[in-house]
Point group: C2
Chain length 447, copies 2
């Protein structure tokens, strides 16, 4: 941040050489932040001063508004230079977000080969491994020696996104195996690389979910993962930095859905009020309307409530405890599904575990509720008994509903995260009231 | 998985050479899974067959129970070999989890220098960058040429956790800068490396939070991050694979806390029933007891409820809508804090945004609730008016409480995630009832 002061000063004093030297010391991410913080008219001018490769690196880190602004200020030939310099995944990312007229201009600016690649990449479904891969990977032939391979990388590797994992392909671009650059470095120079190749590397198809690509990278501690087409031909790689972003985004999306919010596409502070409203209101409306059941149940037991108003006093506590018990189970199961630890086939062990946990939780809460009702709320013994019996049954029911619903969602290919607290709460509330008034009318002999 | 069949068969037929060749093709993670799946008595025998470095790689991927079992079956000299071969971060991870007698045996098995390193690493606070760093990094001197640097790495780099990022240090081990292996590879062989060094690399202190280390790696797309002591001396590095694990764990912890569960230390399916119970029950008890307020409020308005039982019918809907509206705000703010997008200093813009969003949401819900109360629930107009006015105020209050509490928690260094749905729900329930009965008694002229 302090550097920004120096940079701004150098710029104001028109000391451009010193300015460029200082800017070069920053990470592209920070340089992009600096650029975005400049007065709008100044941005394209500064951007033009940058070296071609630095410019591309910084450009890739800008947000969409800034990208659009820079693009509109660039001449066609400047735009060509930047786009050709960008990695495919960054171009594709950008084109997926920008308005159609800008996309058209960018596509016109590049060479026919680049355009063909970009168009092929744009065709991969959103959320697929193909949509996050890049085409700048380094390949080797299986008959090279270690020395030849190193020489080949020195000559061709400069514009690759990574040369630390190398891909050995045959004449038809079929993936034969992978090789670590360190294996070459520590290998005997004259030995054939075929002895060093990992012949069974993890890989994904272009159409596989991008989350499964990211999870493979996390599981096997990879720096990059090969992406192949249905014929086993290498078409791209996913790098670990993109995998990290995918996992962070997926976690954020899960968390949003668990709180009944449609996942945001912008950081909170940058999102507009109306766009936040639109992501929240459908769920609130849906959940509010589904609370109709609870109202009906209470009205059905109007007489009982008229006679024993104290019954109403325990309604919030019973509903909340049920909701909390259910959320605990559902959120735990949802996260375990996300991390690949649980699938639908684990239903029986999950249910069996939740039955035992809910018996322990239910019994403890039930005892506490009995004592509390009797001594703190000074309720009659029969009411205290009704409350404590209800708690036991509600906790067991809630935990089972909470654990089973996400697994069912997974089975029918719905997102399990939707089955979190808010929906569980609504369902559990209804069940809790039915159990409560059922027990109460039986024990008090009323309807 | 299919490979496991082949492996088991080769083992049964005692074709050990072929077995070892097949096992070598697996990722250490998969080999560990295979080993853990073998009958218990067979595990140490198979483990002994492995080459020293393969054994260490696979050992690092085993879970604690399996590690303990293997250790107890190894002789002291075998244990020494494995421990010396492991990376420091893996040894430290392991020692933090194993029982004291096993720790003692492991520490006795290693060389005095290794023991000193391990003890120093064990002293770093849990959750600090020091606790996840490793000491196996590759260093260079600033006066080397590119060729000398490559030769130096070829000679000394073999047992480092990574040689892709290289650390340039002075005579006192002070970090001067970092260098990418690819820069050496593409550099002029006779040029001094000082021209290629990044002199301002991101770094953390040993005592910094491990999450901030992981977030720097994610932000700048790094493969490894240097960790320095308070005098700027390089003492370790954090690698991107560990950063990924940290971010995944932090997300899981946040999600657990948001559902009022103490974060688990084991995957759900492996955790014991009693240990799950212990992580859930304190929160359930706490939240149940704090629901006392809601009961008190309802009893206080006993007369009003006796006269207008229909008021009771709307209690669940009002509470749930408030809880949902509050959760949406709190969970969004909590996640933004976790991702480093929001801090306490953003309180004013956050509050201003939530006021506008909650007005929009509140007005919409309020209108819907009025129509629903009038035409679906067939409530009298005055009751419908009370309900719709309450909804408006409850939604605004809930969203403000939900957004502000996590920021306050952050300010007083509590974990914001604790301020999620369950706690918000309990607070909002109380507020909702106060607002509801306040408006009702004013409009119906009762107390």
């Amino acid at each position: 941040m302090e550097n920004f002061e120096t940079l701004r000063q150098l710029l104001d004093e028109k000391k451009y050489t010193a300015f460029m030297r200082e800017l070069d010391k920053l990470y592209p991410r920070d340089a992009a932040e600096f650029l975005a913080g400049l007065p709008l008219p100044q941005q394209p001018a500064v951007f033009r001063m940058l070296k071609k490769d630095t410019a591309a690196e910084i450009f890739a880190e800008l947000d969409n508004d800034n990208k659009e602004r820079i693009i509109s200020a660039l001449t066609d030939s400047e735009l060509t230079q930047i786009t050709e310099e960008l990695f495919t995944d960054d171009v594709v990312d950008m084109l997926e977000e920008l308005p159609a007229n800008v996309v058209k201009r960018v596509l016109q600016s590049v060479s026919p080969e680049t355009r063909a690649t970009i168009n092929r990449f744009l065709a991969y479904p959103e959320d697929s491994a193909g949509s996050i891969m890049t085409s700048e990977y380094a390949t080797l032939r299986g008959d090279m020696t270690v020395n030849e391979a190193i020489a080949h990388i020195r000559k061709t590797g400069y514009d690759k996104e990574t040369v630390y994992t190398l891909y050995v392909v045959d004449g038809g671009r079929k993936l034969i195996g992978t090789l670590e650059l360190s294996d070459l470095l520590f290998g005997d120079p004259d030995v054939g690389i075929s002895t060093l190749i990992d012949p069974n590397p993890a890989s994904v198809l272009t159409t596989d979910d991008r989350e499964s690509a990211a999870m493979l990278i996390a599981k096997y501690d990879l720096l990059a993962l090969p992406v192949v087409d249905s014929e086993g031909r290498l078409v791209g790689i996913v790098t670990v930095d993109d995998a990290m972003d995918v996992l962070e985004n997926e976690a954020t999306e899960d968390i949003s859905k668990m709180a009944a919010v449609t996942p945001a596409d912008k950081p909170y502070l940058k999102a507009g009020v109306f766009s936040i409203f639109k992501k929240r209101i459908p769920w609130l409306l849906l959940l509010m309307v589904s609370a109709t059941f609870t109202g009906r149940i209470i009205l059905h037991y109007e007489n009982a409530l008229g006679m024993y108003v104290i019954l109403a006093a325990f309604i919030p506590m019973l509903m909340d405890t049920g909701g909390n018990a259910g959320s605990q189970a559902s959120v735990t199961v949802i996260r375990s599904i996300s991390l690949g630890e649980i699938e639908f086939k684990n239903l029986i062990p999950v249910v069996w575990k939740e039955i035992r946990v809910s018996l322990l939780c239910g019994a403890t809460l039930s005892a506490a509720a009995f004592i509390k009702a009797l001594f703190i709320d000074r309720a009659p013994v029969n009411i205290a008994l009704i409350v404590c019996l209800t708690i036991l049954l509600v906790v067991i029911t809630s935990k089972l509903v909470g654990a089973v619903l996400p697994l069912l969602a997974k089975l029918i290919r719905l997102d399990p995260a939707v089955m979190a607290s808010p929906l569980i709460t609504t369902i559990v509330d209804t069940l809790a009231l039915l159990i409560y008034f059922g027990i109460a009318s039986a024990m008090l002999g009323i309807l």
